[in-house]
């Protein structure tokens, strides 16, 4: 699996080669090739994958709508009713989704109208951070399913610092963020250490550590003196002190907080780390081919440990963003909100590239924000968003399928490689 996709008809060693170049492209006029790349290229595939997934979601919404099935009952008498009912239900749903995610035209004024967009960014903040962590691990050939555990531990660490100490503004926040990142990094680092030292499979270990973290946090939440709020019997923590909370980024009328700036910084940092630094080069070398990297003198085991430390730390940042930004009034063991798993799809959609993950995170944040609005106004369960998201990733992963559906030409030289996630690790 560490090999990139080589399309049928192309022989040769499984090196990182782009898909087959049609021989005909050499004789084609130049603009023709450009057209091909625009129409069949990976950006177009991404857009079409979104369209296709939304279409499938629309079908699902229409099929399960009561009014649609009622109108289908007398289809032959008045077929127009069915068309109208389908249109109403699907367009209503997607309008609500858009208004909940980007701009709400029904609200007066720009401030109120633009609020959904800031909600999108708020939801995107932890998604991007965790997606960066998962994506970074992918690049080193590791599959980090342990986002949930790393987020929980990070949330507990950051939360504990945020209410246990009284420190001045600024310093307190930085300490709490650092504690969370270190917590996540340690929880991820355990995985890297075990893999490097004993060869324990990271997929198993991360899955198991998710449960260990969940029960550990549940225990601490109901034990007075650890994480439980004093004077309460609920498994809930005290609220973070205001000195440790992320300040609002755009003023008190929006929920968007400074965590978003941290996440932008993290994206830039990961980009620098992977593409410009010595360590990142070694990371990628190990991810491409661990054997070659070992021969070249790179300590593969060390890279596994570092990669899991970084990965856990980034996922930890997502946990920090949750407790210091979104849920500042005390949290329970559900604080991770499934972000650890969503992050995997975010990383896949972003093809494990930092900026790709950034925009994928924003897209998924938009779906999340819009999904809640859709559920509230149209009564369509938010789970439809999960369906659409997974379909998008599925379609993007298989460009030939999307091209076949839309009868697009094959691109000439554009690389359609999937992220070289090298999940061979799973079966190593």
């Amino acid at each position: 699996m560490s090999q990139p996709t080589v399309p049928p008809g192309e022989s040769g060693p499984p090196v990182a080669s782009p898909p087959a170049k049609p021989d005909a492209s050499v004789e084609e006029p130049r603009w023709h090739g450009v057209m091909r790349e625009i129409v069949g290229g990976s950006a177009m595939i991404s857009v079409l994958a979104v369209v296709l997934a939304m279409l499938a979601g629309g079908i699902l919404i229409a099929l399960t709508d009561d009014k649609v099935s009622a109108a289908a009952g007398y289809f032959f008498a008045r077929p127009g009713d069915l068309v109208k009912a389908v249109w109403d239900s699907v367009s209503g749903a997607y309008t609500a989704l858009f208004q909940g995610a980007v701009y709400n035209f029904r609200r007066p004024g720009f401030i109120a109208g633009i609020k959904p967009l800031t909600e999108t960014l708020t939801f995107a903040t932890p998604l991007i951070a965790a997606g960066l962590g998962v994506g970074l691990a992918f690049r080193v050939g590791l599959f980090n399913i342990g986002g949930r555990g790393q987020m929980l531990i990070a949330a507990a660490c950051a939360g504990w610092v945020s209410w246990s100490f009284e420190l001045p503004y600024g310093l307190h926040l930085i300490l709490a963020v650092a504690a969370g990142i270190i917590g996540g990094a340690v929880w991820g680092g355990i995985v890297g250490l075990l893999k490097a030292r004993t060869g324990a499979h990271e997929v198993i270990v991360t899955i198991m550590l998710n449960f260990v973290a969940l029960y550990l946090i549940s225990f601490m939440l109901k034990t007075p003196g650890l994480l439980q709020a004093p004077g309460s019997n609920n498994p809930k923590t005290p609220a973070a002190l205001p000195t440790a909370v992320f300040p609002d980024l755009l003023g008190p009328q929006f929920n968007l907080h400074w965590g978003f700036i941290f996440v932008i910084a993290a994206t830039v940092y990961v980009w620098y780390l992977l593409n410009r630094s010595n360590l990142g080069f070694q990371f990628r070398a190990v991810g491409e081919n661990p054997n070659a990297a070992r021969v070249a003198g790179i300590s593969v085991n060390k890279m596994y440990i570092y990669a899991m430390l970084f990965s856990g730390g980034l996922v930890g940042l997502a946990g920090v963003a949750q407790v210091l930004g979104t849920v500042t009034t005390g949290f329970s063991s559900g604080i991770d909100a499934g972000i650890g798993f969503d992050a995997i799809t975010v990383a896949l959609l972003g093809r494990s590239k930092p900026w790709g993950i950034f925009f994928a995170g924003i897209l998924f944040g938009a779906f999340k924000a819009g999904g809640f609005a859709m559920q509230a106004s149209e009564g369509i369960p938010i789970d439809i968003v999960v369906v659409i998201q997974s379909l998008i990733v599925l379609f993007i992963a298989a460009p030939p399928l999307v091209r076949a559906v839309f009868r697009l030409p094959k691109p000439s030289g554009v690389s359609l490689r999937r992220p070289r996630t090298s999940t061979a690790a799973v079966t190593k």
């Binding site: 004993t198 198993i204 260990v212 029960y215 997974s390 996630t421 799973v426 079966t427």
Partner: protein, 452 residues
Amino acid sequence: MNAERPIVDENVSRTELKTAVADAPLQHNHPDSLPAALETTVVKSWKAPIAFGIFSIIAILLFVVFGREGTSGFRLSTDSDFFQIPTIQAPTRATDIVLTVLLVALAAYSAFLVSRSRPVRLWVTVVFAVLFLVGFLTWASAGATIPVPGLLVGAVGLSVPLVFGALGGVISERVGVVNVAIEGQLLAGAFVSAIVASVTGQPVLGLLSAMAAGVLVSFVLAAFSIKYFVDQVIVGVVLNVLVTGLTSFLYSQVLSKNTELLNNSGTIRLPRLPIPGLSEIPILGPVLFRQTIIVYILYVAVAVVFFALFKTRWGLRLRAVGEHPQAADTVGINVARTRFWNVSLAGAIAGLGGAYFTMGSVGSFNKEMTAGAGFIALAAVIFGRWDPIRATLAALLFGFASNLQSVLSIIGSPVPSEFMLMLPYLVTIFAVAGVVGRVRGPAASGKPYIKS
């Protein structure tokens, strides 16, 4: 049973490897070749003695230093049994001290074996584990009585979907397709079987439809990974999310609005069918032979999969495709087709396991009711080294540990329930890091085969 695969086991044939390496300098040593074999020659494996030592220390601390007074009871038969066995009453502290001494002796024995470069046999580990478990149960049940049949019945119940999932995983990975989508197959099976069984009132149709649902998930996995060469783990993960989203959406949108017709637990749940005669065996009877039809299918499935995988032409071909597709192709096996249909078969088995969630236990479908069982099954596959029997045992271990927690919390264990819940996962990490170590799956698992 793994004779044909080079499993790297630290405990076996260390001396042979050593001599092989001593002769090695003459040979050209490619860095890619035999890295694992070279690593194992470096040290004697002290993993087993160290692990035993740690557990012995835990035993001394828990059973002797913090030992509990009183008597521990083990109820061995249920009221409805034909043969009644009296409840065993054991003095807690004395029993535990005896067991601790035995544990320490076993640990010392294993250390002695390793120091003499002799392998630590499997029976030592098994005896050690059983003694430790009995010691722990005795300690935890001081002043109370553990219903042993109840503990085991619950354990089997929790294990059933895990075993089905693990069997599906074993088949799929042996043929060369990583099956992360077990969770999705289980959930799809649970969902579809509930609806079909509820609407038609026919349990057989429910089971068949569960298999069909699992196959459907497998089709997507197979199509994307075999035809489009998409990374199999990615497809698996995404499929899990897709099935979770789809079933949750349909549950909220359709099922919950018409529970009477579509999700009626009265029609869905299967009756228990005690096997005459066998079900009266003490302890084993109620545990193994007073179950639903799905569990009996499971017994057959484990045996059949094991036999077919290692003793039939089908199994040989399947494993050949998973180990070395090019060689299999050379001798005329259609790799893509073999993979496609066997992945589908794996989906059918896992889907049947999903039916147990609804038809075998709870009775009605609920959102995300598999709750990560597919991932545990995946862990069981790797823990069981891609072997149907070992994977089954691993799945049983997980089921037992989860149920142990609930039984102990009922009788009032001194350990917080969260730590008991954590135990199976910690044991798994420990086992994977210590005992299993660098496991090797089927060589071509996860790699798309592109015919040149």
